[in-house]
């Protein structure tokens, strides 16, 4: 339901009985689920509009079992869909109907913390926040903090190259992972990256990070840890227009300040989360900015002063400074819980993830507002303002016939807006199954072909997470995205339907 039915790219015909028999031979009983009663709860991830029941779910306990599963699937030509905590928002862990869902949730040990070298070696199922909790006694933490950090796993973060509210200053997953152990579809283990800062040969680690489970499965991760800043404080500023808030963002960066976090929420979003977190957000503002400074107390004091001055000069109607750590966390908790909190006002939401140049912010938000009226669906916006990453939340009710389709069309139009503004369809949630059609708008056939060639270098039979992230050219033709792209006609050689 929801979006147009996803066409399975390559077709697979799997003997389920044989598959289960072979998997049972390499896994403990508690690590193999195959009755529908057990597998149905795995039919979707954090994007529940897309659902498919896999043939089997495997929950290996160690790397050897992951290898064994891969070998079985490779031999029987069975699709493998890796899954971390199942919190993804693009359907990246949507199962394949002829495939095995490979859950890493039992592999969640923190193997080693080296406080002097500032690294932690962990299994892929370890929760993002658990790393920071475990390293806190050493005054260290793992910087990328996606909103779902309480639950999402580091393995999933690698698959999606997750960001978070602090990534403008501290980078994305790709900037904070040193090394991984990686199992190929043939069941071979590779080490990519290094405990040193550079590694030999091509930078395959950078390629694997963000590859959405299409190139292999990560079984061990060495992350970089940073010293926890002595102090962090957040300025909460209210604006009476989105334009002014957007300008304030440009002015802050223009002044040479790189805030630890810089987030924007519009009025609808603020109102939605305030009911849950009681963060004390001003409810009448058209937009609020959360701007964090961290460092030594002296440094923070000086930077906050500059931030406040820029905000005031940019027309802030109200400025509040977090008075203690509890209030700082409360300011952020509203932002971090923004997506699910929408579940309190509307049963379903559809979270978009386009990124645009910051200077186009007002223009794109106006466009979204226009579309919201056109489709008759509300759409609050939260926004990683510092790096131009938009999260419009399209609100709908899946039980009302037609609304899911409407929401999907609305979403697609938003992504097109982002591409037209010089941006991208996904900043951090990944393409998954959700934005696969829009990939045909963002990339030209030659580029998509290169992606597929890279995929083939890792996975010649296309068994890893088929149907996700990179569309086939046929699929693009079917999608009908015959836009004129950079002055050329798209897919001139393909038949039109």
């Amino acid at each position: 339901m929801g979006k147009p039915e996803v066409l399975p790219d390559p077709q697979f015909q799997v003997d389920r009985h044989e598959l289960v028999r072979r998997l049972a031979a390499v896994l403990p009983a508690t690590s193999l689920l195959y009755s529908t009663e057990d597998t149905k709860p795995y039919e979707c991830d954090g994007l529940s509009a897309f659902r498919k029941v896999p043939l089997a779910v495997v929950l290996p306990e160690n790397e050897a079992q992951v290898q064994a599963v891969m070998r079985v699937c490779h031999e029987l030509k069975v699709p493998v869909v890796a899954r971390g905590a199942g919190t993804g928002l693009s359907g990246g862990a949507l199962p394949h109907e002829q495939g095995v869902t490979l859950g890493l949730s039992k592999m969640k040990s923190i193997l080693d913390i080296d406080p002097v070298a500032r690294t932690a070696k962990v299994q892929p199922g370890v929760r993002n926040l658990a790393i920071s909790e475990a390293t806190a006694p050493h005054g260290l933490y793992y910087a990328p903090d996606p909103s779902s950090q309480i639950a999402c796993s580091i393995g999933g973060n690698i698959a999606e190259n997750s960001g978070g509210v602090h990534c403008l200053k501290y980078g994305l997953t790709v900037h904070n992972v040193l090394k991984v152990r990686f199992v190929t579809i043939e069941g071979e283990v590779m080490e990519l990256g290094s405990e040193g800062l550079d590694s030999a040969g091509l930078d395959l680690l950078a390629l694997v990070i963000g590859s959405e489970g299409l190139l292999g499965v990560v079984t061990e991760v060495t992350v970089k840890l940073l010293p926890k800043p002595q102090l962090a404080r957040v300025v909460l500023a209210a604006f009476d227009s989105l334009e002014k808030a957007g300008q304030a963002v440009a002015n802050i960066i223009g002044a040479g300040i790189i805030p630890a976090g810089l987030e924007m929420m519009d009025k609808l979003a603020t109102q939605a989360v305030e009911q849950f977190v009681h963060a004390g957000y001003p409810l009448d503002a058209e937009a609020i900015l959360l701007c964090e400074s961290d460092g030594t107390p002296e440094e923070v004091a000086a930077e906050i002063e500059r931030m406040e001055a820029v905000m005031r000069a940019s027309g802030a109607t109200q400025i509040r400074l977090s008075k203690d750590e509890a209030e700082r966390l409360r300011f952020w908790s509203g932002r971090k819980a923004a997506f699910p909190a929408v579940g309190r006002i509307m049963p379903d939401y559809y979270c978009m993830d386009g990124t645009i140049p910051k200077r186009k912010l007002a223009e794109v938000l106006e466009g979204i507002d226009r579309l919201s009226k056109e489709f008759g669906l509300r759409c609050p916006n939260v926004f990683h303002a510092g790096d131009g990453n938009l999260h419009p939340l399209i609100m709908f009710d899946a039980n009302v016939p037609g609304q899911s389709d409407l929401a999907a069309k609305f979403g697609s139009r938003i992504l097109t807006l982002c591409i037209e503004a010089g941006g991208t369809i996904t900043g951090e949630h990944g393409v998954g199954v959700e934005k696969i059609n829009e990939m045909c708008v963002q990339f030209r056939p030659d580029e998509l072909e290169t992606f597929r060639a890279v995929k083939t270098a890792f996975d010649a039979h296309g068994l890893l997470n088929p149907g996700k992230a990179v569309p086939t050219l046929n699929r693009c033709a079917e999608f009908g995205m015959m836009h004129v792209h950079r002055g050329e006609e798209r897919f001139p050689d393909l038949p039109r339907f």
Binding site: G163, E188, S194, G201, T355, T426, K435, A453
Partner: protein, 351 residues
């Protein structure tokens, strides 16, 4: 001025004629790598800044643009390339800085060349004009092929344009020096790095640890007091860090083979010969004529790898990749450059 379409044609022609091309910007890194094979293909004709809006923190520039020009443009906006690319000669280009993947002293704090790549425009081995990544800070659409180009030394494609994240220049900078032996220096600098101090570079050489602090004035001043040490004057400090960045420091000037070891920062002193340690110990330069096996083994034991950077027997000096990883390299090369037009044998004797 050269343009992308002509280049694409040239690549197609080379592929058809089974010729190999040796992509060359300023030629300042010709000394590096296993071998220089193929007809020289100059990129300096395609230059100029395409887009730079300081409040976006993004710079898009043509690959043949001189590094010095790029840095001037940024300095005018009080910004910088935070990976501090080495300028190994006046002609060094931004394209060379990116595809070499070399980063300077600030790398340990700010990140490497690949960390700052946001998007690329390249011509692949079939002469196709392709764009990956973008001009925005976050972009996870498709595989991250743009970062893959950093450090590829032109083995996969011909870089024509690159978009980089740029950062404001630090408000204040200060350099401290501490006389101490290597083992103590490694321990101290790693322990400092685990504390919230604004470290932006470190270098141990000849019984002295140099530490650079960068950031807000308040932070730098507090750290100076906390860490102690001798405060080095600005002129001397700048000259020192530039000489380390550009390999013009006296340590690099001899003709002895120069090894570059990327290892765990806390690895014990390697005692292989005259040495300079950067990046809080994660980068160790060794100037000595040594058997490759010995250096490679020492690097592997220290959690990393070694490359014969300059001089000596180059092919032997490259640390071999594990067989499955090498096989993957070859398949990837095939994906980008099936006819084998680019950078053959530049970074590894076997591909």
């Amino acid at each position: 001025m050269a343009d992308v379409e002509h280049w694409a044609e040239a690549v197609r022609a080379a592929a058809a004629a089974k010729r190999t091309l040796r992509i060359r910007g300023g030629g300042t890194k010709d000394f590096y790598g296993v071998a220089l094979e193929g007809d020289v293909f100059e990129t300096t004709g395609y230059s100029g800044v395409v887009d730079h809006d300081p409040s976006e923190l993004v710079l898009t520039v043509r690959a043949g643009t001189r590094l010095s020009e790029v840095e001037k443009t940024l300095a005018d906006a009080n910004q910088m390339l935070a990976f501090e690319p080495p300028r190994l000669g006046d002609n060094a280009t931004i394209g060379g800085a990116v595809v070499s993947g070399f980063s300077g002293p600030r790398r340990v704090a700010a990140g490497s060349a690949r960390d700052f790549v946001l998007g690329v425009r390249v011509i692949d081995g079939q002469g196709r004009d392709l764009s990956f990544g973008g001009r925005v800070m976050k972009n996870v659409a498709g595989y991250d092929l743009s970062r893959l180009m950093a450090g590829s030394f032109g083995t996969l494609s011909l870089l024509t344009e690159v978009s980089l994240k740029v950062l404001p220049r630090p408000e204040a900078e200060s350099t401290l020096a501490f006389p101490m032996l290597e083992s103590e220096a490694l321990d101290r600098i790693n322990r400092w790095a685990a504390q919230p101090l604004p470290l932006s570079a470190s270098c141990h050489f000849d019984g002295k640890l140099w530490v650079r602090l960068s950031g807000a004035t308040a932070a730098v001043e507090t750290a100076e007091v906390r860490m102690g040490g001798e405060v080095i004057g600005k002129e001397e400090a700048d000259a020192f860090w530039t000489s380390v960045r550009d390999l013009r420091h006296e340590f690099f000037t001899g003709s002895t083979p120069l090894w570059r070891l990327s290892v765990r920062s806390t690895a014990a002193p390697l005692s292989l010969g005259p040495q300079m340690a950067e990046w809080h110990g994660a980068l160790r330069w060794i100037a000595a004529d040594l058997p490759a096996d010995k250096v490679h083994a020492a690097a592997a034991a220290a959690g990393g790898h070694a490359t014969l950077y300059r001089g000596g027997a180059k092919a032997a000096g490259i640390q071999r990749l594990a067989p499955p990883v090498l096989a993957l390299h070859k398949r990837l090369k095939q994906a980008f450059d099936p006819a084998g037009v680019f950078g053959v044998h530049r970074i590894h004797p076997e591909f």
